[in-house]
Symmetry: C2
Subunit: 251 residues, 2 copies
Protein backbone atom coordinates (compact mmCIF):
# COMPACT_ATOMS: atom_id res chain seq x y z
CA UNK A 1 0.00 0.00 0.00
CA UNK A 2 2.41 2.66 -1.15
CA UNK A 3 0.39 4.59 -3.74
CA UNK A 4 -2.52 6.48 -2.20
CA UNK A 5 -5.30 8.67 -3.58
CA UNK A 6 -6.77 11.36 -1.33
CA UNK A 7 -10.42 12.31 -1.83
CA UNK A 8 -10.89 15.67 -0.13
CA UNK A 9 -8.70 18.69 0.53
CA UNK A 10 -9.89 19.90 3.92
CA UNK A 11 -8.21 19.98 7.33
CA UNK A 12 -8.09 16.21 7.88
CA UNK A 13 -7.12 15.34 4.29
CA UNK A 14 -4.33 17.90 4.40
CA UNK A 15 -2.72 16.79 7.66
CA UNK A 16 -3.11 13.11 6.79
CA UNK A 17 -1.49 13.77 3.42
CA UNK A 18 1.45 15.60 5.01
CA UNK A 19 1.99 12.79 7.54
CA UNK A 20 1.85 10.06 4.87
CA UNK A 21 4.22 11.92 2.58
CA UNK A 22 6.64 12.36 5.49
CA UNK A 23 6.58 8.58 5.98
CA UNK A 24 7.43 8.04 2.29
CA UNK A 25 3.98 7.11 1.10
CA UNK A 26 3.24 8.44 -2.33
CA UNK A 27 0.08 10.50 -2.67
CA UNK A 28 -0.55 10.08 -6.39
CA UNK A 29 -3.74 12.15 -6.76
CA UNK A 30 -5.83 14.61 -4.79
CA UNK A 31 -9.50 14.88 -5.73
CA UNK A 32 -11.69 17.80 -4.73
CA UNK A 33 -14.95 19.12 -6.18
CA UNK A 34 -13.15 22.46 -6.45
CA UNK A 35 -10.15 21.97 -8.73
CA UNK A 36 -8.40 24.94 -7.12
CA UNK A 37 -8.55 23.29 -3.69
CA UNK A 38 -7.30 20.01 -5.10
CA UNK A 39 -4.42 21.82 -6.78
CA UNK A 40 -3.37 23.67 -3.63
CA UNK A 41 -3.06 20.50 -1.60
CA UNK A 42 -1.70 18.38 -4.47
CA UNK A 43 1.13 20.84 -4.96
CA UNK A 44 2.24 20.49 -1.35
CA UNK A 45 2.10 16.70 -1.66
CA UNK A 46 3.75 16.34 -5.07
CA UNK A 47 0.52 14.81 -6.38
CA UNK A 48 -1.74 15.34 -9.38
CA UNK A 49 -4.98 17.25 -8.86
CA UNK A 50 -8.38 16.46 -10.29
CA UNK A 51 -12.06 17.26 -9.83
CA UNK A 52 -13.23 14.33 -11.96
CA UNK A 53 -13.77 10.84 -10.58
CA UNK A 54 -13.15 9.35 -14.06
CA UNK A 55 -9.63 10.77 -13.91
CA UNK A 56 -8.66 8.66 -10.89
CA UNK A 57 -5.92 6.16 -11.68
CA UNK A 58 -4.99 2.83 -10.14
CA UNK A 59 -3.84 2.97 -6.52
CA UNK A 60 -3.27 0.74 -3.48
CA UNK A 61 -5.64 2.72 -1.28
CA UNK A 62 -8.21 5.49 -1.52
CA UNK A 63 -8.67 7.68 1.56
CA UNK A 64 -12.05 9.43 1.58
CA UNK A 65 -11.69 12.46 3.81
CA UNK A 66 -14.74 14.60 3.09
CA UNK A 67 -17.64 15.85 5.24
CA UNK A 68 -19.80 13.03 6.62
CA UNK A 69 -22.72 14.08 4.44
CA UNK A 70 -20.65 13.72 1.26
CA UNK A 71 -19.19 10.26 1.90
CA UNK A 72 -22.08 8.26 0.41
CA UNK A 73 -22.10 10.15 -2.89
CA UNK A 74 -18.34 9.81 -3.19
CA UNK A 75 -18.58 6.05 -2.69
CA UNK A 76 -21.22 5.89 -5.43
CA UNK A 77 -18.69 7.26 -7.91
CA UNK A 78 -15.85 4.87 -7.11
CA UNK A 79 -15.00 1.40 -8.41
CA UNK A 80 -13.82 -1.43 -6.19
CA UNK A 81 -10.48 -0.56 -4.61
CA UNK A 82 -9.13 -0.83 -1.04
CA UNK A 83 -10.76 2.15 0.66
CA UNK A 84 -11.15 3.93 4.01
CA UNK A 85 -13.01 6.94 5.32
CA UNK A 86 -11.68 9.10 8.16
CA UNK A 87 -14.88 10.01 9.98
CA UNK A 88 -15.50 9.58 13.69
CA UNK A 89 -19.25 9.30 13.25
CA UNK A 90 -19.92 7.23 10.15
CA UNK A 91 -20.51 3.50 10.53
CA UNK A 92 -18.39 1.00 8.60
CA UNK A 93 -21.63 -0.22 7.02
CA UNK A 94 -21.74 2.84 4.75
CA UNK A 95 -19.44 1.00 2.31
CA UNK A 96 -22.23 -1.47 1.49
CA UNK A 97 -21.25 -4.55 -0.55
CA UNK A 98 -19.46 -2.88 -3.42
CA UNK A 99 -15.92 -2.99 -2.06
CA UNK A 100 -13.80 -6.01 -1.25
CA UNK A 101 -11.63 -4.22 1.31
CA UNK A 102 -13.02 -1.29 3.26
CA UNK A 103 -12.34 0.31 6.56
CA UNK A 104 -11.94 3.39 8.72
CA UNK A 105 -8.88 5.37 9.69
CA UNK A 106 -10.02 8.00 12.21
CA UNK A 107 -7.39 10.36 13.66
CA UNK A 108 -8.46 11.75 17.07
CA UNK A 109 -7.31 15.31 16.65
CA UNK A 110 -8.38 18.91 16.01
CA UNK A 111 -7.05 19.95 12.63
CA UNK A 112 -6.60 23.43 11.24
CA UNK A 113 -5.02 23.61 7.80
CA UNK A 114 -2.44 26.22 8.72
CA UNK A 115 -1.52 25.08 12.21
CA UNK A 116 1.20 22.47 12.48
CA UNK A 117 0.88 19.46 14.74
CA UNK A 118 2.76 16.35 15.71
CA UNK A 119 0.91 13.57 13.90
CA UNK A 120 3.05 10.93 15.65
CA UNK A 121 1.24 11.80 18.89
CA UNK A 122 -2.22 11.65 17.31
CA UNK A 123 -4.16 8.46 18.14
CA UNK A 124 -5.54 6.68 15.07
CA UNK A 125 -8.57 4.39 15.34
CA UNK A 126 -8.75 1.54 12.84
CA UNK A 127 -11.69 -0.61 11.75
CA UNK A 128 -11.90 -2.91 8.71
CA UNK A 129 -14.18 -5.49 7.13
CA UNK A 130 -11.65 -8.30 7.50
CA UNK A 131 -8.56 -9.10 9.52
CA UNK A 132 -6.15 -9.00 6.61
CA UNK A 133 -7.16 -5.47 5.63
CA UNK A 134 -7.29 -4.41 9.30
CA UNK A 135 -3.66 -5.52 9.67
CA UNK A 136 -2.68 -3.59 6.55
CA UNK A 137 -4.34 -0.48 7.95
CA UNK A 138 -2.79 -0.98 11.40
CA UNK A 139 0.61 -1.13 9.72
CA UNK A 140 0.00 1.98 7.63
CA UNK A 141 -1.28 3.89 10.68
CA UNK A 142 1.71 2.81 12.75
CA UNK A 143 3.98 4.46 10.19
CA UNK A 144 2.45 7.88 10.92
CA UNK A 145 1.42 7.54 14.58
CA UNK A 146 2.72 5.87 17.73
CA UNK A 147 -0.83 5.45 19.08
CA UNK A 148 -2.87 3.10 16.93
CA UNK A 149 -5.94 1.24 18.22
CA UNK A 150 -8.62 -0.99 16.73
CA UNK A 151 -12.21 -0.22 17.66
CA UNK A 152 -15.68 -0.83 16.28
CA UNK A 153 -18.07 1.77 14.82
CA UNK A 154 -20.09 2.11 17.98
CA UNK A 155 -17.02 2.80 20.15
CA UNK A 156 -15.71 5.23 17.55
CA UNK A 157 -18.96 7.18 17.64
CA UNK A 158 -18.74 7.50 21.44
CA UNK A 159 -15.11 8.57 21.12
CA UNK A 160 -16.15 11.23 18.63
CA UNK A 161 -18.81 12.54 21.03
CA UNK A 162 -16.22 12.61 23.82
CA UNK A 163 -13.82 14.47 21.51
CA UNK A 164 -16.45 17.15 20.88
CA UNK A 165 -16.70 17.77 24.63
CA UNK A 166 -12.95 17.60 25.21
CA UNK A 167 -11.92 19.83 22.32
CA UNK A 168 -14.74 21.78 20.64
CA UNK A 169 -16.64 22.53 23.84
CA UNK A 170 -13.58 23.27 25.97
CA UNK A 171 -12.42 25.59 23.17
CA UNK A 172 -15.81 27.30 23.34
CA UNK A 173 -15.27 27.83 27.08
CA UNK A 174 -11.98 29.55 26.18
CA UNK A 175 -13.87 31.67 23.64
CA UNK A 176 -16.38 32.74 26.30
CA UNK A 177 -13.53 33.54 28.71
CA UNK A 178 -11.98 35.67 25.97
CA UNK A 179 -15.29 37.53 25.50
CA UNK A 180 -15.54 38.28 29.22
CA UNK A 181 -11.93 39.52 29.36
CA UNK A 182 -12.31 41.69 26.28
CA UNK A 183 -15.13 43.62 27.97
CA UNK A 184 -12.82 44.29 30.93
CA UNK A 185 -9.87 45.32 28.72
CA UNK A 186 -7.83 42.35 29.87
CA UNK A 187 -5.54 40.09 27.85
CA UNK A 188 -6.36 36.42 27.28
CA UNK A 189 -2.70 35.57 27.98
CA UNK A 190 -3.47 36.09 31.69
CA UNK A 191 -5.36 32.78 31.55
CA UNK A 192 -2.80 30.67 29.69
CA UNK A 193 -0.88 29.37 32.76
CA UNK A 194 -4.21 28.49 34.40
CA UNK A 195 -5.37 26.62 31.30
CA UNK A 196 -2.03 24.83 30.97
CA UNK A 197 -2.18 23.71 34.60
CA UNK A 198 -5.79 22.52 34.09
CA UNK A 199 -4.55 20.26 31.28
CA UNK A 200 -1.39 19.17 33.06
CA UNK A 201 -3.47 17.77 35.91
CA UNK A 202 -5.18 15.40 33.45
CA UNK A 203 -1.96 13.52 32.79
CA UNK A 204 -2.08 11.90 36.23
CA UNK A 205 -5.61 12.51 37.48
CA UNK A 206 -9.23 12.02 36.51
CA UNK A 207 -10.74 15.39 35.55
CA UNK A 208 -13.54 14.96 38.07
CA UNK A 209 -11.12 14.43 40.95
CA UNK A 210 -9.23 17.67 40.34
CA UNK A 211 -12.18 19.98 39.73
CA UNK A 212 -11.89 23.32 41.58
CA UNK A 213 -13.88 26.56 41.71
CA UNK A 214 -17.11 27.94 43.14
CA UNK A 215 -19.47 25.29 41.71
CA UNK A 216 -17.31 22.44 43.03
CA UNK A 217 -17.27 24.17 46.45
CA UNK A 218 -21.03 24.84 46.18
CA UNK A 219 -20.19 28.48 46.91
CA UNK A 220 -23.58 29.92 45.93
CA UNK A 221 -22.63 33.46 46.94
CA UNK A 222 -19.77 33.60 44.42
CA UNK A 223 -21.92 31.96 41.74
CA UNK A 224 -24.68 34.54 42.28
CA UNK A 225 -22.15 37.37 42.29
CA UNK A 226 -20.72 36.09 38.99
CA UNK A 227 -24.19 35.82 37.46
CA UNK A 228 -24.90 39.42 38.51
CA UNK A 229 -21.78 40.49 36.66
CA UNK A 230 -22.13 38.63 33.37
CA UNK A 231 -23.71 41.00 30.90
CA UNK A 232 -24.46 38.60 28.04
CA UNK A 233 -27.71 36.64 28.55
CA UNK A 234 -26.52 33.53 26.68
CA UNK A 235 -23.21 33.40 28.51
CA UNK A 236 -25.08 33.80 31.80
CA UNK A 237 -27.33 30.87 30.89
CA UNK A 238 -24.36 28.65 30.05
CA UNK A 239 -22.70 29.65 33.34
CA UNK A 240 -25.87 28.61 35.18
CA UNK A 241 -26.33 25.28 33.36
CA UNK A 242 -22.72 24.16 33.67
CA UNK A 243 -22.42 25.25 37.31
CA UNK A 244 -25.63 23.39 38.17
CA UNK A 245 -24.32 20.24 36.54
CA UNK A 246 -20.99 20.49 38.39
CA UNK A 247 -22.88 20.90 41.67
CA UNK A 248 -25.18 17.97 40.87
CA UNK A 249 -22.36 15.62 39.88
CA UNK A 250 -20.04 16.48 42.79
CA UNK A 251 -22.40 15.53 45.58
Amino acid sequence: MKRIILIGSGNVASHLGFALKKSNYQITQVYSRELENAKKLAERLGADATNKFQALTTSDLIIVSVTDAAIAEVLDELNDVPIVHTSGSINLAIFGDKFEKFGVLYPVQTFNKNIELDFLETPICIEANNTEFENELLYLASCISTKVVSMNSSQRKQLHIAAVFASNFSNHMFTLADDVLKNAQLEFSLLLPLIQQTIKKLEDNKAKNVQTGPAKRKDMAVIQEHLNNIQDKDIRELYTKISSHIIKTHE
Copy 2:
Protein backbone atom coordinates in the same frame (compact mmCIF):
# COMPACT_ATOMS: atom_id res chain seq x y z
CA MET B 1 7.88 42.71 54.41
CA LYS B 2 9.79 39.57 55.30
CA ARG B 3 7.69 38.09 58.14
CA ILE B 4 4.30 36.90 56.97
CA ILE B 5 1.28 35.35 58.69
CA LEU B 6 -1.00 33.08 56.67
CA ILE B 7 -4.68 32.95 57.59
CA GLY B 8 -6.06 29.78 56.00
CA SER B 9 -4.67 26.37 55.15
CA GLY B 10 -6.48 25.50 51.93
CA ASN B 11 -5.26 25.09 48.36
CA VAL B 12 -4.39 28.76 47.74
CA ALA B 13 -2.84 29.35 51.18
CA SER B 14 -0.71 26.23 50.80
CA HIS B 15 0.72 27.01 47.36
CA LEU B 16 1.25 30.67 48.22
CA GLY B 17 3.06 29.63 51.39
CA PHE B 18 5.32 27.22 49.50
CA ALA B 19 6.16 29.88 46.89
CA LEU B 20 6.94 32.54 49.51
CA LYS B 21 9.11 30.17 51.55
CA LYS B 22 11.01 29.25 48.39
CA SER B 23 11.73 32.97 47.85
CA ASN B 24 13.09 33.25 51.40
CA TYR B 25 10.08 34.90 52.96
CA GLN B 26 9.46 33.72 56.48
CA ILE B 27 5.99 32.39 57.20
CA THR B 28 5.90 32.88 60.96
CA GLN B 29 2.39 31.56 61.71
CA VAL B 30 -0.40 29.66 60.03
CA TYR B 31 -3.90 30.18 61.39
CA SER B 32 -6.76 27.82 60.69
CA ARG B 33 -10.05 27.24 62.52
CA GLU B 34 -9.02 23.58 62.63
CA LEU B 35 -5.76 23.38 64.54
CA GLU B 36 -4.88 20.12 62.80
CA ASN B 37 -5.07 21.80 59.37
CA ALA B 38 -2.96 24.72 60.59
CA LYS B 39 -0.38 22.29 61.96
CA LYS B 40 -0.13 20.28 58.74
CA LEU B 41 0.63 23.34 56.63
CA ALA B 42 2.75 25.08 59.30
CA GLU B 43 5.00 22.04 59.51
CA ARG B 44 5.75 22.19 55.79
CA LEU B 45 6.47 25.92 56.06
CA GLY B 46 8.56 25.87 59.24
CA ALA B 47 5.90 28.06 60.90
CA ASP B 48 3.93 27.99 64.14
CA ALA B 49 0.33 26.85 64.03
CA THR B 50 -2.65 28.34 65.81
CA ASN B 51 -6.44 28.37 65.79
CA LYS B 52 -6.69 31.47 68.00
CA PHE B 53 -6.60 35.00 66.63
CA GLN B 54 -5.28 36.30 69.98
CA ALA B 55 -2.20 34.15 69.47
CA LEU B 56 -1.13 36.01 66.33
CA THR B 57 2.16 37.84 66.78
CA THR B 58 3.62 40.90 65.07
CA SER B 59 4.28 40.55 61.34
CA ASP B 60 4.98 42.64 58.25
CA LEU B 61 1.99 41.26 56.36
CA ILE B 62 -1.08 39.10 56.94
CA ILE B 63 -2.35 37.11 53.97
CA VAL B 64 -6.01 36.15 54.35
CA SER B 65 -6.58 33.13 52.14
CA VAL B 66 -9.93 31.71 53.23
CA THR B 67 -13.25 31.17 51.44
CA ASP B 68 -14.88 34.39 50.27
CA ALA B 69 -17.70 34.00 52.79
CA ALA B 70 -15.25 33.84 55.71
CA ILE B 71 -13.15 36.92 54.86
CA ALA B 72 -15.33 39.48 56.64
CA GLU B 73 -15.41 37.60 59.94
CA VAL B 74 -11.64 37.10 59.81
CA LEU B 75 -11.11 40.84 59.27
CA ASP B 76 -13.32 41.54 62.31
CA GLU B 77 -10.88 39.62 64.48
CA LEU B 78 -7.70 41.34 63.34
CA ASN B 79 -5.98 44.54 64.49
CA ASP B 80 -4.46 47.06 62.10
CA VAL B 81 -1.61 45.50 60.15
CA PRO B 82 -0.63 45.49 56.47
CA ILE B 83 -3.06 42.96 55.02
CA VAL B 84 -4.21 41.36 51.76
CA HIS B 85 -6.82 38.85 50.72
CA THR B 86 -6.33 36.48 47.79
CA SER B 87 -9.85 36.31 46.34
CA GLY B 88 -10.76 36.93 42.72
CA SER B 89 -14.29 38.03 43.57
CA ILE B 90 -14.14 40.15 46.73
CA ASN B 91 -13.92 43.93 46.37
CA LEU B 92 -11.11 45.89 47.99
CA ALA B 93 -13.80 47.74 49.92
CA ILE B 94 -14.32 44.75 52.23
CA PHE B 95 -11.41 46.01 54.35
CA GLY B 96 -13.48 49.04 55.45
CA ASP B 97 -11.61 51.80 57.32
CA LYS B 98 -9.94 49.75 59.98
CA PHE B 99 -6.65 49.10 58.22
CA GLU B 100 -4.00 51.58 57.14
CA LYS B 101 -2.56 49.39 54.38
CA PHE B 102 -4.79 46.86 52.67
CA GLY B 103 -4.87 45.18 49.29
CA VAL B 104 -5.41 42.12 47.17
CA LEU B 105 -2.99 39.53 45.88
CA TYR B 106 -4.95 37.25 43.55
CA PRO B 107 -3.10 34.39 41.84
CA VAL B 108 -4.81 33.31 38.59
CA GLN B 109 -4.43 29.58 38.93
CA THR B 110 -6.20 26.29 39.74
CA PHE B 111 -4.74 24.95 42.95
CA ASN B 112 -4.90 21.43 44.32
CA LYS B 113 -3.01 20.87 47.56
CA ASN B 114 -1.19 17.76 46.40
CA ILE B 115 -0.44 18.72 42.81
CA GLU B 116 2.73 20.69 42.19
CA LEU B 117 2.81 23.71 39.94
CA ASP B 118 5.21 26.35 38.72
CA PHE B 119 4.22 29.43 40.70
CA LEU B 120 6.68 31.56 38.68
CA GLU B 121 4.37 31.14 35.68
CA THR B 122 1.22 32.03 37.65
CA PRO B 123 -0.03 35.58 37.00
CA ILE B 124 -0.63 37.57 40.18
CA CYS B 125 -3.09 40.49 40.24
CA ILE B 126 -2.36 43.28 42.69
CA GLU B 127 -4.62 45.99 44.08
CA ALA B 128 -3.99 48.25 47.08
CA ASN B 129 -5.45 51.25 48.88
CA ASN B 130 -2.43 53.44 48.17
CA THR B 131 0.51 53.57 45.80
CA GLU B 132 3.16 52.89 48.41
CA PHE B 133 1.53 49.66 49.55
CA GLU B 134 0.76 48.72 45.95
CA ASN B 135 4.46 48.99 45.15
CA GLU B 136 5.35 46.86 48.17
CA LEU B 137 2.89 44.20 47.00
CA LEU B 138 4.11 44.39 43.41
CA TYR B 139 7.64 43.78 44.65
CA LEU B 140 6.61 40.85 46.86
CA ALA B 141 4.59 39.30 44.00
CA SER B 142 7.50 39.75 41.58
CA CYS B 143 9.63 37.58 43.90
CA ILE B 144 7.32 34.61 43.40
CA SER B 145 5.97 35.22 39.87
CA THR B 146 7.24 36.60 36.59
CA LYS B 147 3.74 37.80 35.65
CA VAL B 148 2.52 40.52 37.98
CA VAL B 149 -0.19 43.02 37.03
CA SER B 150 -2.14 45.76 38.77
CA MET B 151 -5.89 45.82 38.27
CA ASN B 152 -8.96 47.15 40.03
CA SER B 153 -11.67 45.12 41.79
CA SER B 154 -14.06 45.27 38.88
CA GLN B 155 -11.48 43.96 36.39
CA ARG B 156 -10.45 41.27 38.85
CA LYS B 157 -14.05 40.08 39.16
CA GLN B 158 -14.34 39.76 35.38
CA LEU B 159 -11.01 37.92 35.28
CA HIS B 160 -12.33 35.52 37.92
CA ILE B 161 -15.47 34.86 35.86
CA ALA B 162 -13.30 34.24 32.80
CA ALA B 163 -11.11 31.89 34.84
CA VAL B 164 -14.18 29.85 35.81
CA PHE B 165 -14.99 29.34 32.12
CA ALA B 166 -11.39 28.70 31.12
CA SER B 167 -10.53 26.25 33.90
CA ASN B 168 -13.50 24.93 35.91
CA PHE B 169 -15.87 24.68 32.96
CA SER B 170 -13.32 23.30 30.50
CA ASN B 171 -12.39 20.75 33.17
CA HIS B 172 -16.06 19.83 33.42
CA MET B 173 -16.08 19.24 29.65
CA PHE B 174 -13.16 16.83 30.19
CA THR B 175 -15.17 15.14 32.96
CA LEU B 176 -18.13 14.69 30.61
CA ALA B 177 -15.83 13.31 27.91
CA ASP B 178 -14.48 10.86 30.47
CA ASP B 179 -18.05 9.76 31.35
CA VAL B 180 -18.87 9.13 27.69
CA LEU B 181 -15.65 7.14 27.15
CA LYS B 182 -16.15 5.06 30.28
CA ASN B 183 -19.50 3.84 28.95
CA ALA B 184 -17.76 2.72 25.75
CA GLN B 185 -14.88 1.02 27.62
CA LEU B 186 -12.36 3.48 26.19
CA GLU B 187 -9.41 5.16 27.91
CA PHE B 188 -9.34 8.91 28.54
CA SER B 189 -5.70 8.94 27.41
CA LEU B 190 -6.98 8.65 23.81
CA LEU B 191 -8.07 12.29 24.13
CA LEU B 192 -4.92 13.77 25.66
CA PRO B 193 -3.12 14.67 22.39
CA LEU B 194 -6.34 16.27 21.12
CA ILE B 195 -6.70 18.29 24.31
CA GLN B 196 -3.04 19.32 24.24
CA GLN B 197 -3.35 20.49 20.63
CA THR B 198 -6.52 22.43 21.52
CA ILE B 199 -4.51 24.33 24.15
CA LYS B 200 -1.40 24.72 22.02
CA LYS B 201 -3.43 26.59 19.39
CA LEU B 202 -4.31 29.23 22.01
CA GLU B 203 -0.69 30.35 22.27
CA ASP B 204 -0.84 32.02 18.84
CA ASN B 205 -4.54 32.21 18.02
CA LYS B 206 -7.83 33.46 19.38
CA ALA B 207 -9.92 30.50 20.55
CA LYS B 208 -12.84 31.56 18.37
CA ASN B 209 -10.70 31.59 15.23
CA VAL B 210 -9.51 28.00 15.65
CA GLN B 211 -12.81 26.39 16.63
CA THR B 212 -13.47 23.10 14.81
CA GLY B 213 -16.12 20.38 14.93
CA PRO B 214 -19.73 19.75 13.90
CA ALA B 215 -21.26 22.84 15.56
CA LYS B 216 -18.69 25.16 13.98
CA ARG B 217 -19.42 23.52 10.59
CA LYS B 218 -23.18 23.69 11.29
CA ASP B 219 -23.25 19.97 10.53
CA MET B 220 -26.74 19.30 11.91
CA ALA B 221 -26.71 15.63 10.82
CA VAL B 222 -23.68 14.84 13.01
CA ILE B 223 -25.11 16.88 15.89
CA GLN B 224 -28.40 14.97 15.71
CA GLU B 225 -26.57 11.66 15.45
CA HIS B 226 -24.53 12.56 18.54
CA LEU B 227 -27.66 13.55 20.47
CA ASN B 228 -29.26 10.22 19.54
CA ASN B 229 -26.26 8.45 21.02
CA ILE B 230 -25.80 10.31 24.31
CA GLN B 231 -27.57 8.29 26.99
CA ASP B 232 -27.46 10.77 29.88
CA LYS B 233 -30.22 13.40 29.72
CA ASP B 234 -28.19 16.15 31.42
CA ILE B 235 -25.15 15.58 29.22
CA ARG B 236 -27.42 15.64 26.16
CA GLU B 237 -28.86 18.98 27.29
CA LEU B 238 -25.39 20.49 27.76
CA TYR B 239 -24.38 19.19 24.30
CA THR B 240 -27.44 20.92 22.83
CA LYS B 241 -26.95 24.24 24.65
CA ILE B 242 -23.24 24.56 23.92
CA SER B 243 -23.60 23.48 20.27
CA SER B 244 -26.41 26.01 19.76
CA HIS B 245 -24.25 28.77 21.19
CA ILE B 246 -21.30 27.81 18.98
CA ILE B 247 -23.59 27.88 15.94
CA LYS B 248 -25.08 31.23 16.97
CA THR B 249 -21.72 32.87 17.59
CA HIS B 250 -20.00 31.58 14.45
CA GLU B 251 -22.39 33.08 11.94
